[in-house]
């Protein structure tokens, strides 16, 4: 299958800290790639570079043949097609659940109000929160907020979904409800780039696991191989900590 996301020689520093030191990665359409690694390994920075929330110092990223990193890139158009889910949910607290979802379709995609509401209803059903349409974000549990955030991203009908530690801020009993939604999405063929240490999700839904350390990709393999017979010593040491 053809490459969908192409990352070449990605380099990024924050002051004196080198977050990415030359990362190459290509993701095929419909592929679910899980990125793991110790904190500070650059995995979130890599993910955030894909929709240019971080700008690379050098290197290039393209999605479906369209450059993300060039200065003249139509980044707003690209972001419309790249959904993102954050660790801290980032729901808009001044808007109801429904308005959180309909806002971007209405004002960015210029859909009619009715159409946007229709989309919101369908997606809330999908994430199992049909009864929360009129609720405020602060009235929801963390797991519910994150599911709304996923619905909000899906409302733009994205080609790619980025997940930046989507369950790290959640209590254990809420993690499953979010992972279930993500697993469904993976089964439907969504192209997904996920920064997470959820090994259950890795085994159930990921096609490939990328292990990053110190701004570089150390090892990549399909989940069954990755967990049973990692090649690199660094990977083995990390897996001992999280498994």
């Amino acid at each position: 299958m053809a490459t969908f996301i192409e990352i070449k020689g990605a380099v990024k520093s924050f002051g004196t800290v080198q977050a990415l030191r030359g990362v190459d990665l290509s993701v095929r359409k419909g592929e679910v790639v899980l990125i793991i690694g110790p904190s500070g390994s650059g995995k979130s920075t890599l993910l955030r570079s894909v929709n240019r929330l971080e700008r690379l110092d050098s290197g290039s990223i393209s999605i479906d043949g369209e450059s993300v990193t060039e200065d003249k890139a139509d980044i707003r158009h690209i972001r419309e097609e790249v959904g993102m889910v954050f660790q801290s949910f980032n729901l808009f607290p001044h808007l109801s659940v429904q308005e959180n979802i309909t806002l971007a379709p209405t004002f960015v995609l210029r859909k009619s109000k009715d159409e946007a509401i229709e989309i919101a209803r369908r997606l809330l059903r999908k994430v199992g929160l049909s009864d929360k349409e009129t609720a405020w974000p602060e009235q929801l549990s963390g797991g519910q907020q994150q599911r709304v955030a996923i619905a909000r991203a899906l409302a733009m009908n994205p080609k790619v979904m980025l997940f930046d530690e989507p369950t790290s801020a959640l209590d254990p009993e809420m993690i499953k409800e979010v992972l279930d939604v993500m697993t469904d999405l993976a089964r439907e063929g969504m192209t997904m780039l996920v920064v997470s240490h959820e090994m259950g999700f890795a085994r159930a839904a990921a096609h490939r696991i990328i292990f990053m350390d110190a701004g570089q990709i150390v090892e990549e393999a399909p989940p069954e191989l990755f967990f049973t017979s990692p090649r690199e010593e660094r990977t083995r040491r990390f897996l001992e900590h999280i498994l």
């Binding site: 972001r79 801290s88 001044h94 806002l103 971007a104 004002f107 960015v108 991203a153």
Partner: protein, 274 residues
């Protein structure tokens, strides 16, 4: 000239909602502060009591003074309200400028804030009315409003800046990730949340401006203080005239500070203004 300043206002998180605490000169009465004998109750009802009692006990001159000053009250409110509206507009743009990534805009806004906050309001009033008078050819009231707007615009700018910066960075990122432009994200996501947290400090500025508006009496504006002065200078009843003027200012500022406190309370409980 006490100013409820925002640069000393610390930004913190309370009950999952971000608030700005403006530290100096708390005009806003706190809830549960002494019940019926709270400082606010004593001052407010004491002042009202005096304003009712004095004219009854001694109609000359108190009743005469009370009849003489309402014109000034209108002028005071006109200057205050028009100035606060312009100050808010200036403050919004200067505040956005203060956080702008555009170096030129950022520098212009910051220099404006620095200069204006470094010069006493009274000097600014003199400057616009007398020093720039030949150039601007403005009457007292418009000159007063111009000076007050420019001055308070700088303080408002800092409130807007602090308010916008108090919104978690993730809000802007989430908006951008959905394909919104920076300005749309500001308009639809950041500013609506900012308004909620800056209303109390803006209310504070309004009260400060109401008090500072007494300075415009110097520029031939017949505001409350000037009317009092006019009465005093013709009747030689200085003590009585200025007592009434002081009591009227006190009643007004205490009333508005209670209003601000009420507003703050409501915003805290049910955050969603719709």
């Amino acid at each position: 000239m006490a100013k409820a300043s925002s640069e000393s206002g610390r930004v913190g998180k309370a009950e999952h909602r971000t608030t700005i605490n403006v530290t100096d000169g708390t005009l806003i009465p706190l809830k549960d502060e002494g019940g019926g004998l709270s400082a606010w109750n004593i001052s407010f009802f004491g002042a009202i009591g005096l304003l009712v009692l004095l004219p009854i006990l001694s109609p000359d001159p108190y009743l005469r003074i009370l009849a003489f000053v309402p014109d000034g009250l209108v002028a005071t409110f006109t200057v205050t309200i028009v100035s606060i509206v312009f100050a808010l507009i200036i403050g919004l743009f200067a505040g956005l400028g203060r956080i702008s990534h555009n170096t030129l805009i950022n520098r212009i806004s910051t220099v404006y804030v620095e200069i204006i906050r470094g010069i006493p309001l009274l000097v600014q009033l003199f400057y616009i009315y007398y020093a720039l008078g030949p150039l601007l050819k403005m009457q007292g009231p418009p000159a007063a409003i111009l000076a007050m707007s420019i001055c308070y615009g700088a303080y408002m700018a800092e409130i807007f800046r602090a308010g916008i910066q108090a919104i978690p960075k993730g809000q802007m990122e989430a908006a951008l990730a959905l394909g919104m432009s920076r300005s749309m994200a500001m308009r639809r996501i950041i500013i609506p949340q900012t308004v909620r947290i800056i209303l109390p400090p803006i209310g504070n500025e309004f009260i400060a401006l109401l008090k500072d508006s007494s300075l415009v009496s110097i520029l031939a504006v017949s505001d409350l203080l000037r009317r009092g002065r006019e009465y005093a200078s013709t009747s030689f009843r200085y003590f009585e005239s200025y007592t009434v003027i002081a009591l009227i200012y006190l009643v007004m500022t205490l009333f508005f500070s209670r209003l601000v406190a009420y507003m703050e309370e409501r915003l805290r409980h049910r955050g969603n203004v719709h």
